[in-house]
């Protein structure tokens, strides 16, 4: 759904345009008109006036960022987040489109709930795309009505929060998804191996006396899913929040066999390891957990070499009382919308020298390809006027207390980051400016 279409025009002048689809990484002016990209041209070459001008000197102009994985907590858990507060945080983080997960109360497993999410009363300030449940109530037993959900506007299906564990149900989901060209998103975790576990299984979990989730619990499900996808015509498998080196191997094997396998990685998995948690701080507790150093190295390599399609935040807000407790009992998940770009530029670009153009791709064209976002992920003429403008050199300090999200559960409170969103434009209208 897109917020009200604007009838005005906006000229973004003097910026450095990075549009991986159009293969542009150069100074360009961009004219937005009637909610679309009207013209992209060399500096000062766009003739005629515009109702508004945006001075983008020294800034990067990019297609609007797309987050494939957020938990907006509606319906049912408004004490954690609402669509209004979650999308305000998204706008502040430069995201013009977010995909909201169905593990709400109740689970979004019907056409009615998918439509409810898209109603203007929800107060979304960026585009919200629904990912619907793959099985009824995400219980893993009976597939939902993929065709009806897709027609109602759902962009993919998942049982996120839980895996689709049963072999035959996963096979059926991939078969049906293949017929409809509908991605099946897997939360890859063999929950039979992770009961009562709350962090990565390794030296650190042993030392802390916490039961650990093995890397194999993720990798074995990804391997099975890739094997299935390789043998089902047109099946589309998307691996959510991939966190282990072994799972990447399976993804690569699937790609080589021409299977349609895509994957996303979160900022916290390319930034932190299991060694970083201190004093049982549950702001370091999420699922999948922070992994080992070698997993992090593998993820960094895969972000650079193209194996990873998208950076997705897995923004998972929780109220303070659901986090400030015994580590083993605290809720899984951290917020992430407002720190994603800063972490990407700080860790991936400045420290690991991944080109900015590749980072932009991971936020735009990459995710757009995963779920077929039409008219998004690029600023070629005629595209939807979703634009993210950021300052790649700006140093700033993230303060959780000032977050737009209703929840403050983040391990990045007080972190110094480089790279900050300056303006977020949705459908030609500025919805956030710093």
């Amino acid at each position: 759904m897109s917020p009200e279409k604007t009838r005005t025009s906006l000229l973004i002048k003097g910026g450095h345009l990075i549009d991986p689809v159009a293969r542009i990484d150069a100074p360009m002016d961009v004219l937005l008109k009637d909610g679309r990209v009207a013209e992209v041209a060399a500096p000062n070459k766009i003739k005629g006036g515009a109702d508004e001008k945006f001075d983008a000197r020294g800034l990067v102009v990019a297609p609007g960022f797309i987050d494939l994985h957020v938990h907006l907590r509606e319906p049912g858990q408004v004490h954690k987040e609402t669509i209004a507060t979650g999308t305000a945080a998204a706008a502040a983080g430069g995201f013009t489109s977010v995909c909201t997960m169905p593990n709400t109360v109740p689970v979004v497993d019907s056409v009615e709930w998918v439509e409810w999410l898209r109603q203007p009363e929800r107060g979304a300030v960026v585009n919200v795309f629904a990912i619907a449940a793959a099985t009824r109530a995400s219980k893993g037993a009976t597939l939902t009505d993929f065709r009806a959900l897709q027609t109602a506007g759902a962009i993919a299906v998942t049982d996120d929060g839980k895996p689709i564990l049963d072999d035959s149900i996963m096979r059926e989901a991939l078969v049906l998804g293949g017929e409809l060209n509908f991605p099946v998103v897997q939360h890859a975790e063999d929950t039979r191996m992770t009961e009562n576990c709350c962090m990565h299984a390794g030296a650190r979990s042993f030392r802390l006396g916490l039961r650990g989730m093995t890397a194999a619990a993720e990798a074995s499900v990804v391997e099975r899913d890739v094997q299935l996808a390789m043998h089902i015509p047109n099946a589309r498998l998307h691996v959510a929040h991939l966190s282990t080196g072994d799972a990447l191997k399976s993804v690569r094997r699937g790609r080589r066999a021409k299977a349609r396998v895509t994957c996303e990685v979160t900022p916290h998995h390319f930034t932190l390891t299991d060694e970083d948690m201190r004093d049982y701080d549950s702001n370091y507790k999420m699922n999948p957990p922070l992994r080992s150093k070698s997993d992090l190295e593998a993820i960094l390599a895969a972000l650079a070499d193209g194996t990873v399609d998208a950076i997705a935040t897995d923004h998972a807000p929780h109220a303070a009382h659901e986090k400030e407790m015994e580590f083993e009992r605290a809720a899984f998940g951290i917020t992430g919308l407002e720190t994603a770009l800063g972490l990407a530029i700080t860790r991936l670009h400045r420290e690991k020298h991944i080109p900015l153009a590749r980072i932009v791709e991971l936020f735009t064209a990459g995710p757009a390809r995963c779920f077929d976002f039409r008219g998004r992920g690029s600023l070629v003429r005629g595209s939807i006027a979703d634009v993210t403008i950021f300052d790649p050199k700006k140093k700033w300090t993230f303060e959780a207390a000032k977050s737009r999200s209703k929840s403050k559960n983040t391990p990045f409170d007080g972190w110094s980051l480089t790279g900050k969103v300056v303006a977020t434009i949705v459908g030609g209208r500025i919805v956030h400016s710093a």
């Binding site: 009961e195 009562n196 030296a203 042993f206 916490l210 049982y280 400030e324 407790m325 015994e326 580590f327």
Partner: protein, 303 residues
Amino acid sequence: MNPARGSLLGIEHMEAAEILKLLKFARRMNPDHARPLLKGKRVMLLFYEASTRTRSSFEIAAKSLGAHTVLIQAMGSSIEKGESLLDTGYTVRAVGADIIVIRHPNAGAPYVMAQHIDVPVINAGDGLHEHPSQALLDAYTILRNKKTFKGLQVTIVGDIFHSRVARSACHLLSKFDVKIILCGPPELVPEIATTLAPGVRVTRHIEDALRGTDVIMLLRVQSERLAGMKIDLPEYIARYQMTPARLKMAKKDAIVMHPGPIIRGLELTSEIADGVQARILEEVHNGVPTRMAILARAMGKMR
């Protein structure tokens, strides 16, 4: 918030000198002739999990020093009604607690408490993580029997994975360069245990573990924590039970320790439990002066 001065959350981050100081101070503690170092103080014993030895010895230790004690158990308190850990902490603080002693089934619970409550928090055992007062009383017992840590070899046999006693013991002994050998089946003694502290070695063979050792610490197989793990008990007994024949492999003057509760016929035979080399009851006895020292330290009275 940083933990209040005097808190005892674990052995891992404690300095060797501080440990020695505490053990030395413990030798001066006598429950029958104690100075009232904690006169008028309130010690809250917050027990979320069953305990006999630890609870009673903390209680006796506190009372010997002149403190009042209040025991709060999960059963029969607001904890049962769903009160959160921190709310219970704030409540006992508001009542006037000067020290909180906490036993909890979740690793790290005392850390969470200590970060929010401004009185010393003493970890009386947290999940699989640490049991610092047990490690200190065991160190006290070892020193009483062996005089020094120098050149010692300590063998720990049994369920290391589920043992907070073993984790704390490894951290403590390692700080004094003691050779530590962990022995048991892979399910209970994973290879990763060697990363716990310098000087820790793992073996599957009891003969290898016992040869020339000075101290044998036995652990109970914690069936309540196994969480689906299948342990073949007859096999365990055949391979790892401490018997008089096996004890002969150790040094002649080796001592046998056990944090209790012991299960006769499982990890040890009655001949071992009641034998001359056993120090199991001495450990319990030493728990009182050690915990007196811990409580006095919490109130800044360790001088």
